[in-house]
């Protein structure tokens, strides 16, 4: 186990290191460098040279990278061009809100996807299975923003049940107190997850139903409901947690689209606004944070899986 841990953590550190290089390279891909982006298209060569010197952009790339890495390690992601605030504090403000939105969507998705998957597995090859499978296929092919627009048209414009704009409160408590405004963004995010998770649950339950311990349980005369709850579900739910880890990049991308659609004040909206306003320190800061989060997420998932399932760690 220790060897597995060391190897897996070492791999993650190397990948994190490479992620920082990718973001650093992107920073230097900016047309005319960062100076042009900050000072605007009318900047004179003199002012650009002065800016580059002031910011240390005239030194060699390896030196700049070491400086960049040093700043990263102290939590310094630079200053926003537009918002007069450090990137770190901006992300600190917005990240928790994104976590609330994503967390609610995951909870909703799990509550719906687990029973849906079980229904499909139990009613395999029957009408319910076909209908739900078809729906999942459709959900896969539907872009998040189209889904969101349909929900806005139906529930906000036609039926006028839920507002089309997400809560605008500053605090998490304020956001949670405007529950009706949270419904459409959360449901939009959840539907794609439901499609993926219910497909997974269907095959996991089917796999487990054909295991010998299920036959043993049946032979002992246990009821089907009890077998499902005590044996099948327990075994099917563990890998669902790892699926969540693999799904992290999709979830974060979903948050980007949903937040910019519903004007939800999280990290995705911050990122989108920065893209519109060419606010590159924020763009690259968020990109870095998202990359780091994905690497750490998949590391935790792998370790959790190895703890729960001894077969994994002996193979790797």
């Amino acid at each position: 186990m220790t060897r597995f841990l060391i190897k897996r953590v070492g791999q993650a550190v190397i990948v994190l290191f490479l992620v920082s290089i990718i973001v650093f390279v992107l920073l230097h891909l900016l047309p005319g460098g960062p100076a042009r982006a900050i000072l605007g298209p009318t900047a004179t060569p003199d002012s650009i040279a002065h800016f580059n010197h002031q910011q240390g952009y005239d030194r060699s790339l390896p030196v700049q990278y070491v400086q960049y890495l040093g700043r990263l390690l102290t939590g310094d992601l630079g200053e926003s061009y537009k918002l007069n605030q450090s990137v770190t504090s901006l992300i600190g403000e917005r990240l928790p809100k994104t976590l609330v939105l994503t967390g609610l969507a995951i909870v909703l998705a799990a509550i719906l996807a687990i029973p849906l998957g079980i229904i499909q597995a139990v009613r395999r090859g029957k009408a319910a299975d076909y209908v739900l499978t078809g729906a999942a296929f459709l959900a896969y092919a539907t872009p998040v923003f189209f889904l969101g627009l349909i929900l806005i048209l139906v529930f906000s414009q036609q039926l006028q049940i839920f507002p089309a704009e997400a809560p605008q409160a500053d605090t998490i408590g304020g956001i949670l107190s405007e529950l009706p405004a949270l419904v459409l963004p959360v449901v939009t995010m959840a539907l794609g997850i439901i499609a993926a998770f219910s497909r997974y649950m269907r095959s996991a339950v089917l796999d487990n139903l054909s295991e010998e311990y299920v036959r043993t349980a049946r032979a002992k005369g246990q009821s089907e409901a009890r077998i499902m709850a005590r044996h099948v579900l327990r075994n099917a739910l563990i890998p669902l947690a790892t699926l969540l880890g693999l799904y992290l990049p999709t979830l974060i991308s979903g948050a980007l689209v949903v937040e910019s659609m519903f004007n939800y004040p999280g990290m995705g909206l911050l990122f989108w606004n920065s893209a519109q306003g060419s606010d590159f320190p924020v763009l690259l800061g968020v990109t870095l944070v998202v990359g780091v989060a994905t690497v750490i997420g998949s590391l935790i998932t792998d370790i959790a899986y190895a703890v729960l399932d001894p077969r994994i760690r002996s193979v790797s």
Binding site: Q11, I14, V15, L18, V19, I21, I22, V23, L26, L29, L30, P31, F137, L138, Y140, A141, T142, P143, F145, F146, L149, I150, I152, L153, S156, Q157, Q158, A164, P249, T250, I252, S253, L256, V257, S260, M261, F271, W272, S274, A275, Q276, S278, F280, L283, L284, V286, T287, V290, G291, T294, V295, S298
Partner: protein, 299 residues
């Protein structure tokens, strides 16, 4: 090395090709969903590229006197947009962009990813480790974020957009083909080729890639579906080719302003078009995967 010897080292690729293609095709044709996908795709391509020959519209000049007409208006079966473009014509015109960029980016990504993965897998060792850690790192950053950053740096034209999307989309085929290459490199015919003095590039292009062709083709189909979605996402976020150019994603994005007044015809046609084309490619990909699997079992 004589020509006959070369022939003998690659019997699978040289001899079996015609019947293999036919067998693959016949299995594919028996798959109803795959056929549906193919029919949908042909229909959509005909609609976008041949449709404008029948339904003539002006998609460059705005006409505000004709803005936001409901479907069924004279000469505008699907209504008009907020700038007075005919919706049906714009759906064809926008579809051309979505399909062209999606196809080109998906194919380019598959091509590059295949070569990259085959090289990494064939050479193995530290070359493989270094090449794969790079893809790991790039995959750690969600594709949409990378796309948005690059599109914010460069305002895309059609060719640039293709390059941007391909530059992100090659990662997953690279990983997939690398796995195939790792398995293929220990085959006897590769050893034989090496004994006869064949080098790395010969191994990669003459042996690894042709023998992984099933995986490559299936993956290309899914890559195209993904690339079409990426185009749509970027356009929806307002970071694609600037107007008056249009694609299905940017059409949806301009429709969002009018949801509160209920102009549904700005939303549904482009949205449904995206769903149909992505589903079509996915159905075709699933069908091809089954078809190629049969081939592998029979060999």
């Amino acid at each position: 090395m004589t020509a006959a010897a070369v022939e003998a080292t690659q019997p699978e690729a040289a001899v079996a090709t015609p019947s293999l293609a036919r067998r693959t095709l016949s299995v594919f044709a028996r798959n109803k969903l795959a056929l549906l996908g193919a029919v949908l795709l042909v229909g959509l391509i005909a609609f976008c590229f041949l449709g404008p020959l029948i339904h003539h519209t002006d998609q460059v000049h705005t006409d505000l006197s004709q803005a936001n007409l409901a479907p069924g208006s004279a000469g505008h079966p699907l209504g008009t947009t907020d700038l007075g473009y005919d919706m049906l014509g714009r759906l064809m015109y926008g579809g051309q962009t979505s399909l062209e960029v999606g196809l080109a980016a998906g194919l380019l990504a598959t091509l590059f990813g295949t070569v990259y993965g085959a090289v990494a897998g064939y050479f193995g060792g530290w070359v493989d480790a270094a090449m794969m850690r790079i893809t790991d790192a790039a995959l750690a950053i969600p594709a949409l974020f990378l796309l948005v950053v690059v599109a914010a740096i460069i305002t895309p034209s059609k060719p640039v957009l293709i390059l941007i999307i391909a530059s992100v989309a090659w990662l997953s085929p690279a990983r997939l083909i690398r796995g195939e290459a790792l398995a293929l490199r220990s085959r006897d015919y590769i050893h034989a080729m090496r004994l006869m003095g064949g080098g790395g590039s010969r191994a990669v292009f003459q042996h690894i890639v042709p023998n992984a062709i099933g995986t490559v083709i299936v993956n290309a189909t899914f890559q195209i579906a993904d690339a079409i979605l990426y185009v749509a996402y970027l356009s929806f976020l307002g970071l694609s080719i600037p107007p008056p150019a249009a694609d299905w994603g940017s059409m949806l994005s301009s429709g969002i302003t009018y949801t509160q007044v209920g102009y549904w015809w700005l939303i549904f046609p482009p949205g449904i078009a995206i769903v149909l084309v992505v589903a079509a490619f996915n159905f075709i990909g699933d069908g091809l995967r089954d078809a190629f699997d049969v081939r592998l079992q029979k060999n």
